[in-house]
Amino acid sequence: MARIPSAAPADRFPASGRRSRFPYLFTAVFAASVLYSLRAAQVDPRRFFEGDALANVARFVRGALPPELSREFLGLMLRPALETVQISVMGTAIAVLLGIPLGLLATSSLMWRGVLHERWSRAGRFLLGFVPYALARAVLSVFRSIPEYVWAFMFVRAVGLGPFPGVLAIGVAYGGMLGKVYSEILENVNPRPLETLHAAGASRLGVVLYGLVPQALPTVVAYTLYRWECAIRASAILGFVGAGGLGQQIELSMRMFQFNEVLTLLAVLFVLVAAVDFASARIRARLA
């Protein structure tokens, strides 16, 4: 069961006789990394005032105002805007489809640790529990550590230009994140109801369905909605590598120095993101 309460603070505050070296080490390493990074990133504020940097800003601002609001342009941009929403919805749906099974497999309390497995033999726990658990964790780690636009780039190669590679990229990258978070939510549920069900003789499936799922569901739904908010931003960006949506139009207008179109597109993106944030926040508030 849970740790003895008095054990927790001892982890954080080492015995008073031994002074922690952590603050000094941290400061030294941090300072060294910052100094190195300042050089490696070629940070040089003077570049703002060299050449025609400021003139370029003026050109950009003058070009962007007033924004392009002709009926024809707005009509043309309606489809990419809707496509951005559609990519985010489908991408999140695929992420959930990937995240639920992988997340379940990556939950230690479901696979090999804790109350569900007290009757298993050690070898059984290892083969049927720990091995799939470790594999699922590894897959999730690869899925989420490769950024979504790299996935998009590769999927564009695999299935061609358009919204479909964007959907797959968001599905895979966000599937990795959702799976990890789902497993953390499932591991952190209160074990008491599970133990009660177990003691009452409930089957393993019964314990999961009636003990685990009701506790975890609101958090799972809320986190998924939060990811959907992130997905709409991501789906706008993926267009830059040819995966449809608003991003592709922003890139085109930028490359052709049509800054007034860029401004309009950014405003459209703002409205879309705000609408999704609003819808998702309303639903999450009702769930909480």
Binding site: F26, A40, A41, N56, V150, M154, V159, V167
Partner: protein, 280 residues
């Protein structure tokens, strides 16, 4: 426990939301041309197998490894300095986005502002919020394009892009943290006659700081991934090399670079988790 009658409308509401999502999903399915059957059909799987086959073995020649190492180091540098710049932008901006510091709540109990001063401060708050919204809404990659246009190619515009966008995100989050602090210590300070500045310094900030650190570390994890992307528009780092490798069909080199991204992202995630456990 018996279901209370008040739960009924919430069930109807859940049905409506569920139906709405089903419709949204169907519409998106048709609009995005998702073809999972084609992808996982024999032809699709064959194509994937061919592509994956080309990625292996990764190119481990000295030149590629050196390029991947340099790219990873540059990406790390962009993410670190970009995140620090973001914190530097967010800290002052968040003060403008916090109503409880500007015009309402406990700091102003018993010491009401003059109407003109209050109007000014409400206006200040609105401006602060609006500016943060603009910084936050424009994606990093668009900021990167703008800064490349201003200061030229290289990692520096990448740093600026991350700093400005993340500054908007953190400014909003910091402002929310400042508004949500526990008011009890502030009341205690106020009862001792502490000035507003003292209350901010000794009552609000100590409560908010751990959350600031936690949010900044979380955004650093986001930024290491973003830093690797900004190279696509000429803002340095691994992204630039990945762009070249994909465009030239150098698949084995691409695999090495992807491994480098995986390594640097995993490293930053681990560092951030470690620092969070030590600092927060």
């Amino acid at each position: 426990m018996a279901r209370l009658p008040t739960a009924r409308p919430s069930r109807a509401w859940a049905l409506w939301v569920g139906a709405g999502f089903a419709a949204l999903l169907l519409w998106s399915w048709r609009g995005t041309g998702v073809d999972l059957a084609g992808l996982f059909g024999p032809e699709g799987l064959r194509q994937i197998a061919i592509y994956v086959g080309k990625l292996f073995p990764p190119d481990l020649s000295a030149a590629t490894l050196r390029a991947a190492g340099a790219g990873a180091a540059e990406t790390f540098a962009i993410s670190l300095i970009g995140s620090l710049l973001a914190v530097a932008i967010a800290l002052p901006m968040s003060l403008l986005a916090t109503r409880t510091l500007l015009y309402r709540g406990i700091l102003f109990e018993g010491r009401p502002l003059a109407p003109a001063a209050k109007t000014l401060r409400v206006g200040l708050y609105a401006c602060g919020k609006a500016l943060l919204n603009v910084l936050r809404t424009i994606p990093e990659i668009v900021w990167a394009l703008i800064f490349v246009f201003m200061v030229g190619l290289g990692p520096f515009p990448g740093v600026l892009a991350l700093g400005v966008h993340t500054g908007g995100v953190l400014g909003k989050l910091f402002g929310e943290v400042l508004e949500d602090v526990d008011p009890a210590p502030l009341e205690a300070l106020q009862a001792t006659g502490a000035s507003r500045f003292r209350i901010l310094l000794y009552g609000v900030l100590p409560q908010a700081l751990p959350q600031f650190v936690s949010y900044a570390l979380y955004r650093w994890e986001v930024n290491i991934r973003a830093a690797a992307m900004l190279g696509f528009v000429g803002a340095g780092g691994l992204g630039q090399r990945i762009y070249v490798a994909i465009s030239l069909f150098h698949e084995q080199e691409l695999m090495t670079l992807i491994l480098a991204i995986y390594a640097i992202v995993t490293l930053v995630d681990a560092l951030s988790a470690y620092l969070r456990s030590r600092l927060v």
